[in-house]
């Protein structure tokens, strides 16, 4: 048996056939469990899909490559939990397409950055990181404060996500544009409607301090401020 390899190596079709078999065993072992992804995602309270404004912010996060320096996954290691808070659980990124876990940490992990800093701080930090953290090597993103957020087709982005399983309702998609404008406003017109769709904890305010325009900075800060704040860990821990 062990010295049959000469025969296999000399017959390219046999070699190909056997290679495919061996590789598919490895592939199946890795892929099949993912069809039963409900076995890895914890049942938790509080998770909801991103609001349209937060979703626009997430797209900016990806576009600007923030993930090349920041991870969004707190690993279950003592020092990480000490610094960043409860370790990340699978349910927290179940609506992320693509997820932003990452392993490159030039800057800190951002999985629980929501609520840690004020909007003002984020504005100052994005416009000029050195103004608040003198030794920072993070690039400045001042242009985000000038550019309008891309909201005219945010409903189509949500429709695409709906098709791959994110539980956006048709009502959410129809109202996407105005929900986004509402969320970034200091005296919102349709706050109750927005809350009825996404829950009472939605942050509604003018994130970037410029009430005249819904900018990319509004969207990005709305996204930052929701990260890691949705799951109710009190009920999660009790269930464990």
């Amino acid at each position: 048996m062990l010295d049959k390899h000469g025969k296999i190596e000399r017959n390219s079709f046999l070699l190909l056939f056997l290679t495919v078999i061996v590789v598919s065993i490895g592939g199946l072992v890795e892929i099949v469990p993912l069809f039963r992804v409900e076995t890895t995602i914890e049942k938790v309270e509080g998770m909801r899909p991103y609001t349209p404004l937060e979703l626009a912010g997430k797209s900016i996060y990806i576009r600007e490559g923030c993930y090349t320096c920041h991870s969004q996954q707190i690993r279950p290691l003592r020092d990480e939990v000490e610094r960043y808070g409860h370790y990340s659980i699978a349910a927290e990124s179940m609506y992320d397409h693509p997820f932003q876990w990452g392993s490159k940490r030039t800057g800190p992990d951002l999985a629980r950055i929501g609520g840690k800093y004020s909007d003002d701080w984020h504005v100052a930090h994005m416009i000029d990181p050195r103004s608040v953290v003198p030794e920072s090597i993070m690039p400045a993103y001042a242009f985000l404060a000038r550019r309008g957020a891309r909201l005219h087709d945010i409903d189509r982005h949500m429709r695409a996500l709906q098709r791959i399983g994110v539980p956006y309702t048709d009502e959410m998609i129809e109202n996407a544009y105005w929900d986004a404008m509402t969320q970034a406003s200091n005296d919102p017109y349709e706050a109750d409607a927005l809350r009825s769709r996404y829950g009472d904890n939605v942050n509604i305010r003018d994130f970037d301090g410029n009430p005249n325009k819904t900018t990319e900075l509004d969207a990005l800060i709305a996204y930052m401020q929701v990260l890691g704040t949705l799951v109710d860990f009190k009920t999660y821990q009790e269930a464990q």
Partner: protein
């Protein structure tokens, strides 16, 4: 290509070819006259290979490894990362237990008298400060524009242990239900005062700390509009978080433009709350740490 297949076939028909030079079999492969010796793999290599195979089987049995349709095999050790984390946390807690019990039982103002407990609190507070507070208050707590210095004895909301504890736990103009709250009106943006009036009152405010000449019209406006919060003498009012305007310490700058801008737009700085984000022990440690920085009352 054709030629090579012929040769290989020949080799397999006539049995292995022996290399004359070394006396070792060749594999029968030939490239432009170069042939490959069929030496066996070294023994040590083979053994290490077999050992890794055995080790991997042990690993499958002892540790979580194979995915199954309803999850994965658990392994005889029952090891998970989450369990390991819990054990490590329990170990640290165990080590801190000697201090923690006494620390929790003692009111904040009693701790400074117990040298060891106090050291324990300050060490915990100092490290939590770097992780959570330094981005705003600076690594040395000296503050910066918009973010107050916590080393000095000029307090906006108060420098006693209880005051500091409340500021940290509930935040200032934060999202917490019990947050400290107050709002200075935007005198210009909301049309309460016109440009000239704001210029006058700006000069008056600056005159309180000797940065401008006395302005009588400004003083009048100040009495009407500002004294209710900042006090008749400009010494501020901690119950509404209105800063002292007569000292040399400025949250938003002492230039005429900066002061004008604060009065025109108002600022209302936000400090996040830490209740629910940091543990109660941490918040108390931070309170003692901030209090110890030099300005504690």
């Amino acid at each position: 290509m054709k030629k090579k297949t012929d040769k290989t076939e020949k080799a397999s028909r006539t049995g292995p070819e022996i290399d004359k030079h070394s006396g070792v079999e060749t594999t029968g492969h030939e490239w432009d006259g170069l042939k490959e010796l069929n030496n066996p793999a070294p023994r040590w290599w083979l053994w290490i290979f077999l050992l890794t195979v055995i080790w991997s089987i042990w690993y499958w049995v002892m540790y979580p490894s194979w995915p199954t349709l309803s999850g994965h095999t658990e392994g005889l050790y029952g090891w998970t990362q989450h369990k390991q984390l819990k054990e490590q946390q329990a170990e640290i807690l165990q080590r801190q237990q000697a201090y923690l019990e006494a620390f929790r039982a003692m009111p904040l103002d009693g701790i400074a008298e117990h040298e060891e407990l106090y050291r324990f609190a300050l060490a915990g507070g100092a490290s939590a400060f770097k992780d959570n507070c330094a981005a705003c208050h600076g690594i040395d707590a000296a503050g910066m524009s918009h973010y107050p210095n916590l080393n000095d004895d000029a307090w906006i909301w108060g420098g006693s242990l209880e005051d500091i504890y409340e500021s940290i736990k509930y935040g200032i103009r934060s999202e917490h239900n019990e947050t400290r709250y107050s709002e200075m009106p935007a005198f210009g943006a909301d049309g309460i005062l016109n440009r000239q009036e704001i210029l006058d009152v700006t000069d008056y405010v600056l005159s309180l700390s000797g940065l401008a000449a006395e302005n009588l019209r400004g003083a009048e406006i100040y009495r009407e509009q500002c004294a209710s919060c900042h006090g008749m003498d400009g010494r501020g009012d901690r119950s509404v978080g209105a800063p002292d305007l007569a000292d040399a310490i400025w949250l938003y700058g002492s230039s005429r433009d900066a002061v004008y801008s604060v009065i025109y737009h108002s600022r209302n700085g936000v400090m996040p709350h830490w209740d629910g984000i940091l543990s109660e022990d941490r918040i108390r440690q931070l309170t003692l740490y901030v209090h110890s920085l030099g300005g504690g009352e």
